[in-house]
């Protein structure tokens, strides 16, 4: 699941160093322990999701393996893009297509 990418969970860039990862992980675990509200959620290109101490520990453990870190970083980089997927393409979906029929609630 893309949203569970370890770099997203830790809110780090895919090129973060091992030291940065450890520091961020400890910081988040501390914040979660203290019950700081903003640490319980994280935002990523896919959306906003809940986070707890277990997910942070899992992400930390996975990123300690260099090969797994490379894999996670590659996947995280793949999910970056500031473009929209061509709204002007002739066969692009008609956003708010139901409004064409006057259906404001669909």
């Amino acid at each position: 699941m893309n949203a569970k990418n370890c770099f997203y969970v830790l809110e780090l860039a895919p090129d973060a160093s091992a030291a940065d990862i450890e520091r961020q992980g400890r910081k988040l675990l501390g914040m979660l322990e203290l019950g700081i509200e903003r640490s319980a959620r994280y935002a990523c290109p896919v959306g906003e999701f809940a986070r707890d101490a277990t997910t942070v520990r899992e992400a930390l453990a996975r990123l300690r393996d260099p090969k797994a870190r490379l894999r996670e970083a590659t996947l995280a980089r793949a999910l970056t893009g500031d473009k929209r997927p061509g709204d002007d393409d002739p066969d692009a979906p008609l956003r708010d297509g139901f409004l064409v029929g006057g259906f404001r609630g669909l």
Binding site: M1, N2, A3, P45, V46, G47, E48, K67, L70, R71, A73, T74, L75, R77, A78, L79, T80, G81, D82, K83, R84, P85, G86, D88, D89, P90, D91, A92, P93, L94, R95, D96, G97, F98, L99, V100, G101, G102, F103, R104, G105, L106
Partner: protein, 491 residues
């Protein structure tokens, strides 16, 4: 004028006897007390107006005749009038009017009909609350004759659910609900003509067309029948036929566009034709953007999905100069394969609800080949699970409430359709014998065990009949033709 009354009575009795003779019960007057009252009121109105014209003199007679005829006309034209009233966005009012007007006397779907119009009013108004959706569900569950209006109402409810889930940020749930709605609307299109009021059929096609357009599933609009549909749907269909296939706009389309008066449709027709070639960097950026959009459960067109697969084939090839694979990993074939697998694993769940025609790809790369293989496993497993479930259900004759059975029948068909959509007709033909046998069992279960739901069974058999004809399976086509005849009534 004196001859009018016997003619009306003769025609009504003729229809009744004819329907009985065919054992189809084209009109469901025999079972529904509301329908009998409806018939009585219409006949009384007609008789009253004729007598008023006969007995009265001058303007008085005509005024009395119009007075008598008005309730009859309102009763006969209730469905189109309610469709128009629903646009006002007053669900409770429309619900009460629908109950009072006894819509759908032929099918006798009094609860489902009223609920459908109420749901439609909410859909036009916008912002269905959880309480309103619960209210609609409770009203719909009272229906004892779940026919076309019932199926359409279930679909509309799922679309309202989808909108609510989207507003609450539950994109995955919204996608599921939309898939259910699309499948349910598809089932209504297979239902017998007697089981679906013409207004409901038009509404079903309208909703399906708008749903296809909003999801970028343009081929679905191209194959829709040329029914009497609103101008917006005419314009959408013309867009597919003229813009995506040829490149001209006919006067009929222009008239439909003017009638629809929609800025979204104008923007659609203003889209530029595709450029034959785009720079590689641009194509890769679009591929990444499509991946991000799909991960957010945003609708994406079929071409964009196919381009995304191509882009990631390129990006995940270590030999490509701008590859996404890090330098330190490029020499490690095992690690590269694991990364390609990761990307494919991330894509498959996003593609599965509405898979692209990946079987049409001419060349496969490291990602598209993996996606193909994983999609094949996933979709065939889904079909196998459906087949096992139906076999067990048929053996034990398990029956559920009407809403669940409509959804089950619809989603079972979708499991097969996805395979055809993804891998083509040849792949679908391979799984057809098993699917045809199992889905037929489901139809027989609905038709022959209590509570009998023959209109739903008819939709199952009709879809099987059409598929059997496409695949050249004469035996199944003949068998399902017989089945559709047996289940074409609404009783």
């Amino acid at each position: 004028m004196y001859g009018g009354l016997p003619v009306i009575l003769f025609v009504l009795v003729g229809i009744f006897i004819q329907s009985r003779r065919k054992r189809r019960s084209a009109i469901g007057f025999a079972t529904s007390w509301r329908a009998r009252v409806w018939l009585l009121l219409v006949v009384s109105s007609a008789v009253g107006s004729l007598l008023a014209v006969a007995a009265g003199q001058g303007w008085d007679g005509w005024l009395w005749a119009i007075g008598f005829a008005t309730p009859g006309v309102l009763l006969v034209t209730a469905a189109p009038l309610l469709r128009a009233a629903a646009r006002l966005g007053r669900p409770k009012l429309v619900y009460v009017l629908a109950q009072a007007w006894m819509v759908f006397p032929r099918s006798g779907e009094t609860q489902a009909g009223a609920t459908l119009w109420a749901a439609l009013a909410i859909a036009h108004r916008g912002g269905a609350t959880a309480e309103e959706r619960a209210w609609l569900r409770s009203r719909l569950s009272r229906e004892t004759r779940p026919l076309g209006a019932f199926g359409c109402a279930c679909a509309l409810l799922r679309l309202l659910d989808a909108r609510a889930a989207r507003d609450e940020g539950r994109a995955g749930d919204a996608e599921d609900a939309t898939t259910h709605a699309r499948a349910l609307l598809g089932t209504v299109t297979y239902a017998a003509p007697n089981a679906v009021h013409s207004t409901v059929r038009r509404l079903t096609h309208e909703l399906l067309a708008l749903l296809h357009a909003s999801r970028g599933q343009w081929p679905g609009i191209a194959t829709m029948p040329d029914l009497d549909v609103p101008a917006s749907v005419v314009a959408l269909r013309a867009y597919v036929h003229e813009r995506l296939r040829e490149a001209s706009t006919s006067p009929r389309t222009m008239r439909a566009l003017r009638r629809a008066r929609s800025p979204a449709l104008d923007a659609l027709f203003a889209r530029k034709p595709p450029t034959p070639t785009i720079p590689t960097a641009e194509a890769l950026a679009r591929g990444r953007a499509t991946f991000v959009a799909m991960s957010r459960h945003e609708p994406v067109g079929i071409n964009a999905q196919m381009s995304m697969l191509w882009a990631f084939d390129v990006l995940m090839t270590p030999e490509f100069p701008d590859t996404a694979i890090p330098v330190e990993a490029r020499e490690d074939a095992e690690l590269v394969a694991a990364m390609q697998d990761d990307v494919a694993n991330a894509m498959v769940p996003l593609l599965a609800p509405n898979p692209p025609p990946i079987g049409a790809l001419r060349r496969f790369g490291p990602v598209s080949a993996r996606v193909y293989q994983k999609l094949e496993s996933l979709l065939l497993n889904e079909l196998s699970r459906m087949a096992s479930g139906v076999r067990e259900r048929a053996k034990e004759t398990w029956r559920y409430d009407a809403a669940r059975e409509w959804t089950d029948a619809s989603m079972s068909r979708i499991a097969f359709r996805r395979i055809e959509q993804t891998f083509g007709t040849a792949a679908a033909a391979q799984v057809w014998p098993e699917y045809g046998h199992v889905y037929c069992k489901l139809g027989v279960l609905f038709a022959e065990t209590r509570p009998r739901r023959r209109p739903l069974a008819h939709a199952v058999f009709e879809s099987l009949r059409q598929d059997a004809q496409r695949f050249g399976d004469e035996a199944h086509a003949a068998q399902n033709t017989r089945n559709t005849l047996v289940t074409s009534g609404v009783e």
